[in-house]
C-alpha cells in the first residue's frame, strides 16, 4: 500500500534521502527512528507528495485522497472554530456533504474536544491544538497515515491517549508511517522499525518481539556502525 523505491533527495549539499526503499502492506505500522536531520521529515514529505525526490519513486495506494498527514504544524485556520476547520478540510477531501457534520462531531468527541469544538482554534492550548490537528488528519478516514513526530508537544496523558488512538486505527487495517527521535515512543505500536541516519535506512525490518530497550540498543549500534 505504501512503497518507496531507491529514493534520493538532497538540499544543496545536505543529503536527506539516500537510496531508501521499503514496502508496507495493510495493517503495518512503520516507526522510523533517527536523530534530528536524518531525513525523516523529508521522507514523509516525499510520501505525502509535497516534495518531488531527486531520484527514485514513492507510491501510496489511492493517492492524495488516501493520505492523512500530521506534522509539527496544525494546518488549521486560527480564526475558524475546530468544527469549521474540520468541515472545510472534509469538503476539500470530497467527503459527502451529509457526512461532514456527523464525522466532525464524532471526531471532536473521540479526541476530547467536544467542549471546545465551536471556539476559534487560535484560543486552544498547545495540547488541544495537537488533538485538533489529529482530527483534521482523520476527517476523510484515510487508509494511510503519515505522522511526523506526532508526540512532540504532548504531555504524558495526551501521548498515551494518542498511542491508544493509533493502536485502534491500526486495527482497522490502516498503514501508518510515523517518525520519532525517541525510541521509547511509538515502538510498541510498530510492526516494522527502521533506523534512518544521514538519509539512509541503516536497518529496516519487522519489530518481532524485541522490546524497546533492545531496539534502542540496536539503534545505537546501527548508527555507530554507519559513522565508522
Amino acid at each position: 500500500m505504501v512503497s518507496a523505491e531507491g529514493l534520493r533527495h538532497a538540499y544543496g549539499a545536505v543529503v536527506a534521502l539516500d537510496d531508501v526503499s521499503f514496502t508496507l502492506g495493510p495493517g503495518h505500522t512503520l516507526a522510523i527512528f533517527g536523530p534530528n536531520g536524518a531525513g525523516k521529515t523529508t521522507l514523509l514529505r516525499v510520501l505525502a507528495g509535497l516534495v518531488r525526490p531527486n531520484g527514485g519513486s514513492a507510491r501510496v495506494a489511492g493517492g492524495r485522497h488516501a493520505i492523512g498527514w500530521i506534522d509539527h504544524q496544525s494546518h488549521l485556520y486560527g480564526d475558524l472554530s475546530v468544527r469549521e476547520n474540520l468541515e472545510f478540510w472534509a469538503t476539500l477531501y470530497g467527503v459527502p456533504r451529509a457526512a461532514r457534520a456527523p464525522r466532525a462531531t464524532a471526531l471532536v468527541k473521540r479526541l476530547g474536544l467536544a467542549a471546545r469544538a465551536d471556539t476559534p482554534v487560535r484560543t486552544l492550548s498547545r495540547g488541544l491544538m495537537q488533538r485538533a490537528a489529529i482530527a483534521r488528519a482523520l476527517i476523510h478516514e484515510p487508509p494511510v497515515l503519515l505522522l511526523d513526530e506526532p508526540f512532540t508537544g504532548l504531555d504524558l496523558a495526551a501521548a498515551a491517549e494518542l498511542r491508544a488512538l493509533l493502536a485502534e486505527l491500526r486495527g482497522a487495517g490502516r498503514v501508518v508511517v510515523l517518525t520519532t527521535h525517541n525510541v521509547d515512543e511509538g515502538v510498541e505500536l510498530a510492526s516494522d522499525v527502521a533506523f534512518q541516519h544521514r538519509g539512509r535506512f541503516v536497518a529496516f525490518g519487522p519489530r518481532g518481539t524485541r522490546s524497546a530497550a533492545e531496539i534502542a540498543a540496536a539503534y545505537r549500534q546501527a548508527v555507530r556502525t554507519d559513522d565508522a
Partner: protein, 226 residues
C-alpha cells in the same frame, strides 16, 4: 579554450565591430539633414532597444523550457540573458536623452520607445531582485522562470498600450511594410550595427553564463546524488 575565454573573444569582436560601425557612421555615412550629427546615436540606440526586448523573449522562452526540463543550464542562460538585457535597456535609456536633448529640446520625454524600454527595465530589475531575494536555488529557478514567462508576455502589451497612448517618437523607419525610408548608406550602417549588437549579446551572455557556472559549482553543481 574555456567558455569564458570564448565569451571574451566574441565580446572583443563585437566591440571592434562597434568601433567599425562608428567609423563608418561618422566618416562614410551622410549626415542627416534635419537632425545633424545627433542622428548618429541612432546606430547605438535602436539596435540596443531591439536586443533589450529580444533578451526578454529569450528569458521567457528559457523559463518555459526550464519548467518542463528542469535543466539548470536553461535557468543560467535566462539569468545571463536578463542581465545583458538590463545593460542594453540602460544603453537605450541613456542614449535616448542624449539624442532627445538636441532634437526634442528636453532630456526625457515619454515617447513610445523610451517608455516601453523603461518599463522593460523595471521588469528586468524586478527579475534580478527576485533572483537575489530567494535563497533556495531550485525555488529561485522556478520563480525566475514564472516571472520571466510573464515578462515575455507583457512586452507586447506594453508596446500596444504605449502605441495607443500618443507618441512623438519618430515612427518606424526601417521595419515597416513599405520600402525603408532610410537612405541606402544609413540603412547599411544600421544593419551592420544590428549585427554587431547581436555579436555583443552573444558575447556578453556567454561570459555571464561562464561566470555563473563557475559561481554555481559549490552551490548546486555537486548538490547530491541524482
Amino acid at each position: 579554450m574555456t567558455l569564458l575565454a570564448k565569451g571574451r573573444a566574441i565580446t572583443l569582436l563585437g566591440l571592434c565591430g562597434l568601433v567599425g560601425v562608428y567609423v563608418r557612421a561618422l566618416a562614410f555615412t551622410p549626415v542627416e539633414r534635419v537632425q545633424g550629427l545627433a542622428q548618429k546615436i541612432y546606430y547605438l540606440h535602436v539596435p540596443a532597444a531591439i536586443w533589450a526586448e529580444t533578451a526578454m523573449i529569450f528569458v521567457g522562452l528559457a523559463g518555459a523550457f526550464y519548467l518542463f526540463l528542469k535543466d539548470e543550464r536553461l535557468d543560467r542562460f535566462a539569468a545571463s540573458s536578463a542581465e545583458v538585457g538590463t545593460v542594453f535597456a540602460t544603453i537605450v535609456l541613456t542614449t535616448g536623452p542624449i539624442w532627445g536633448k538636441p532634437i526634442w529640446g528636453t532630456w526625457w520625454t515619454w515617447d513610445a520607445r523610451l517608455t516601453s524600454t523603461l518599463l522593460l527595465f523595471f521588469v528586468y530589475v524586478g527579475y534580478l531582485l527576485l533572483r537575489a531575494a530567494v535563497v533556495d536555488p531550485f525555488l529561485r529557478s522556478r520563480y525566475a522562470a514564472v516571472l520571466g514567462i510573464c515578462g515575455m508576455f507583457l512586452v507586447p502589451f506594453i508596446h500596444f498600450s504605449v502605441y495607443l497612448f500618443r507618441t512623438l517618437h519618430p515612427g518606424p523607419i526601417v521595419l515597416k511594410p513599405s520600402a525603408p525610408s532610410l537612405p541606402a548608406p544609413m540603412l547599411v550602417t544600421w544593419a551592420v550595427s544590428v549585427a554587431v549588437f547581436t555579436v555583443l549579446y552573444v558575447g556578453f551572455v556567454t561570459q555571464r553564463y561562464a561566470l555563473a557556472v563557475r559561481g554555481a559549482a559549490p552551490e548546486r553543481g555537486e548538490a547530491g546524488p541524482g
